[in-house]
């Protein structure tokens, strides 16, 4: 069969489609976005009517996928690592309910924080939920794992996690497909109480979850994704997890690798192989991208026993993405680095696009806030976060999606006035709405700026759930209509914008200001332009 050239993300998407997927539920987030986008663009997915529209946030995505699983079909939910924080309640409890149709949770971590606030390791969550975790080392394995994960999920009636990192998500290689499977037929769970987590049922389910541990461990031991390679030099045994295996092998392309290696891509850890390695080797080196999850497990609290090397003892850096050179250093291998980067090479930080509406909104806000002094703007996550950089220096916080409105409220409660929130339309419907309700309930004096560009700009212009609903939502939450102010942010409107902002900053209650202009990167998106026109925006 002809090889397809696929990103790791796309390989997962194709694997899921071929495994008889009936719906993907996701909220965009680098580096996971391309999984869902691939399914949205797939002809077979369209023919099969596989659900692929974006969800409002990761929690709604996870729960909807669980609902599809309840009804017997194969469902997948995808998110970036921090998205799993948002969906964590649903995720942990989905392991307690278990599944009916196969449920696969794909989480893309971002070590080195290429485009994220932190580098949390989702394997910790997978272990927390006590489910199987698959961590592919290459694109073919990503495809195979997605293809087989649904069956594994159905066999033990538990969700399965696929964990990848940025490098695999956004790297392309040839992938060979397997035969396409039919979708599941709808079916209800055999036990009508399976999904009812009243304490009595939950205790029963939890005991069942605990009882699957030996089975999941056995599956890992027999997994085609885990393998032991023998080596005669037992002074060191190597555990190489997921993509770290590639960096290990890269360094031994032209050299003999004489140490035993356990290539690890399915968890819980296969105890038999780990024990074997520990017994036969004097010391162990753990290579894993992300947190030292396996290293910590092997090390435990006692320093006695087989010495374990990795990120915790400084053999590898404690933070950041691995790469072939870092792994080479762990083996004291020489690196023939090229010439150094000349001093004249300057960094090019990402910036908002020329002509972006956020820029005009910030210009006005900076002027309107001049009389009050700095330090009072709580922003959120999106392109407008780049307003933190010069020349705007317009914002003072960016923590997690939705935190702008709630932090502004907390600061206002502490006496900061005016207290301003800046949030995008997509982030507002992701998790800003509930915080706004808190403020309205107490009539907290905050000024919320929802910089509306009709899209989810930062992640590449996906649909925004807010489109066509924004004012109704805000009114529905209870913001007084005369304090909902909409205008078009342009250079020509600067004075008017400043005036409106001044008025609302002065108001002793909740006001919402909506600078509204389409993201210029989406102007060629015909269907969006058409929709905006139809809505009269």
């Amino acid at each position: 069969m002809q090889k397809l050239l696929l990103l790791g993300d796309e390989a997962i998407a194709q694997g899921a489609i071929d495994a008889g997927l009936s719906g993907v539920y996701a909220y965009p987030g680098t580096p996971s976005t391309e999984i869902t986008e691939y399914i949205q663009g797939s002809k077979i997915a369209r023919e099969r009517n596989i659900h692929s529209q974006w969800s409002a946030n990761e929690k709604t995505a996870m729960e909807t996928a669980l609902g599809m699983s309840y009804a017997g079909k194969r469902a997948m939910t995808c998110m970036k690592h921090v998205g799993l924080n948002v969906a964590a309640d649903a995720f942990i409890n989905a392991a307690i309910t278990g599944v009916n149709g196969g449920l696969v949770v794909v989480v893309a971590d971002d070590p080195s924080m290429h485009s994220s606030q932190n580098e949390q390791d989702s394997r910790v969550y997978g272990k927390f939920a006590m489910i199987s975790i698959l961590e592919p080392h290459n694109q073919q394995e990503a495809y195979d794992m997605a293809y087989n994960a649904f069956e594994l999920s159905e066999k033990y009636a538990l969700p399965v996690m696929i964990r990848i990192t940025t490098r695999l998500a956004h790297s392309r290689a040839g992938v060979i497909r397997k035969p396409m499977l039919d979708e599941n037929k709808s079916s209800l769970p055999k036990d009508p109480t399976q999904f009812v987590l009243l304490p009595a049922f939950a205790r029963r389910n939890y005991k069942h979850l605990l009882s699957t541990r030996p089975d999941l461990e056995m599956v890992s031991t027999e997994s085609p994704y885990n393998w032991l390679m023998d080596g005669h030099d037992k002074s060191l045994g190597i555990v190489a997890c997921g993509i770290a295996y590639n960096y290990l092998m890269e360094n031994f392309q032209d050299r003999d690798l004489n140490h035993p290696v356990l290539k690890l891509s399915q968890y819980p850890m296969p105890r038999r192989d780990i024990n074997h390695l520990i017994e036969e080797c004097d010391e162990i080196l753990v290579l894993e991208d992300g947190y030292p999850v396996i290293e910590e497990l092997l090390k435990g609290y006692q320093e006695a026993g087989t010495p374990i090397h990795g990120r915790l003892d400084g053999t590898l850096p404690r933070d950041g993405e691995l790469n072939p050179n870092i792994v080479a250093a762990a083996f004291n291998l020489p690196v023939e680095e090229g010439a150094p980067v000349p001093d004249m090479v300057k960094s090019r930080p990402p910036a908002m696009c020329k002509g972006c509406g956020h820029i005009d909104a910030y210009r006005a806000l900076n002027i309107a806030l001049e009389e009050y002094g700095p330090g009072r703007v709580f922003a959120d996550i999106g392109c407008y976060t780049l307003g933190a950089l010069p020349p705007y220096n317009a914002i003072n916080s960016c923590v997690d999606m939705g935190a702008s409105i709630t932090m502004a409220k907390g600061a206002a409660d502490a006496g900061l006035h005016p207290s301003v929130a800046v949030i995008g339309d997509s982030t507002f419907t992701h998790s800003g709405m509930t915080g706004l309700l808190d403020a309205v309930s107490e009539k907290t004096p905050i000024t919320v700026i929802i910089s509306d560009n009709f899209t989810t700009g930062m992640t590449g212009g996906q649909d925004s759930q807010a489109l066509g609903h924004l004012e109704n939502i805000i009114k529905g939450i209870g913001v007084e209509p005369e304090h909902i102010r909409v205008f078009k942010p342009t250079a020509a409107n600067l004075d008017e914008m400043v005036e409106i902002m001044r008025e609302e900053l002065d108001y002793n209650g909740v006001s919402v200001i909506i600078p509204r202009r389409q993201c210029i990167q989406t102007l060629r998106n015909k269907s969006l332009v058409h929709k905006v026109k139809e809505l009269g925006l």
Binding site: K3, H114, S115, R172, G338, R348
Partner: protein, 197 residues
């Protein structure tokens, strides 16, 4: 056969089209390929890079180790220098000379060019100008692919075929311009090499 290429440029300059073209050619020639791209934040006028690895043998790492790249292929002169630690001693630096100035402290152009010329193996051509001459300045990325083509272990025809496939849905005119751009880039390198000898 192996070619390890660092593609460099600024977001929006089309290095992913270069990668896609080479990728298409590689797959058609049954070569192994890995190509690590940068998506997300860095596309907003930030620096972007892609590691492209071709080989007749299976490839282990998605990232090229330092000192192992055979080619740095850059569509922007300052960006070509950012990845020097990756270039092998025998490797080639192939770069466009038209700068993309979107930062206040962009270095003095003469110094950038001097530094490029300081590298043992380099090709520096004005791809924007050449692309303009063949009919579309936006094809400067493909001019640069043409300029690097003599150093990539893939038949030139295969790259042409790659261009046809990648640009096909944009229409025959765009395909033609890019084929011309590819050829013009190749010629520029051949002339530069003839000059050296």
């Amino acid at each position: 056969m192996k070619s390890d290429i660092v593609l460099a440029g600024v977001g929006g300059q089309g290095i992913l089209s270069i990668a896609a073209t080479i990728g298409m050619a590689a797959v058609d020639n049954n070569l192994y390929l890995k190509q690590a791209e940068v998506h997300g934040m860095s596309q907003r006028g930030g620096d972007v890079q892609s590691h492209l690895r071709l080989s007749s043998q299976p490839i282990a790492s998605d990232l090229i180790p330092k000192g192992k790249a055979d080619i740095i292929l850059s569509v922007e002169p300052m960006e070509s220098l950012r990845y020097l630690p990756f270039l092998s001693k025998k490797g080639w630096l192939v770069t466009n000379t038209t700068p993309f100035v979107n930062i206040p402290e962009y270095p003095d152009m003469d110094k950038v060019i001097a530094e490029i010329q300081n590298q043992p193996n380099h090709i520096a051509i004005d791809a924007d100008k050449i692309a303009g001459e063949v009919g579309n300045r936006r094809a400067s990325n493909i001019v640069m692919l043409g300029a690097a083509s003599p150093f990539i272990d893939i038949a030139y025809d295969a790259l042409e075929e790659g261009i046809r496939k990648i640009f096909n849905r944009k229409g025959e005119k765009i395909v033609e311009v890019n084929l011309k751009a590819l050829r013009a880039g190749k010629q520029a390198t051949e002339e530069a090499i003839a000059h050296m000898n």
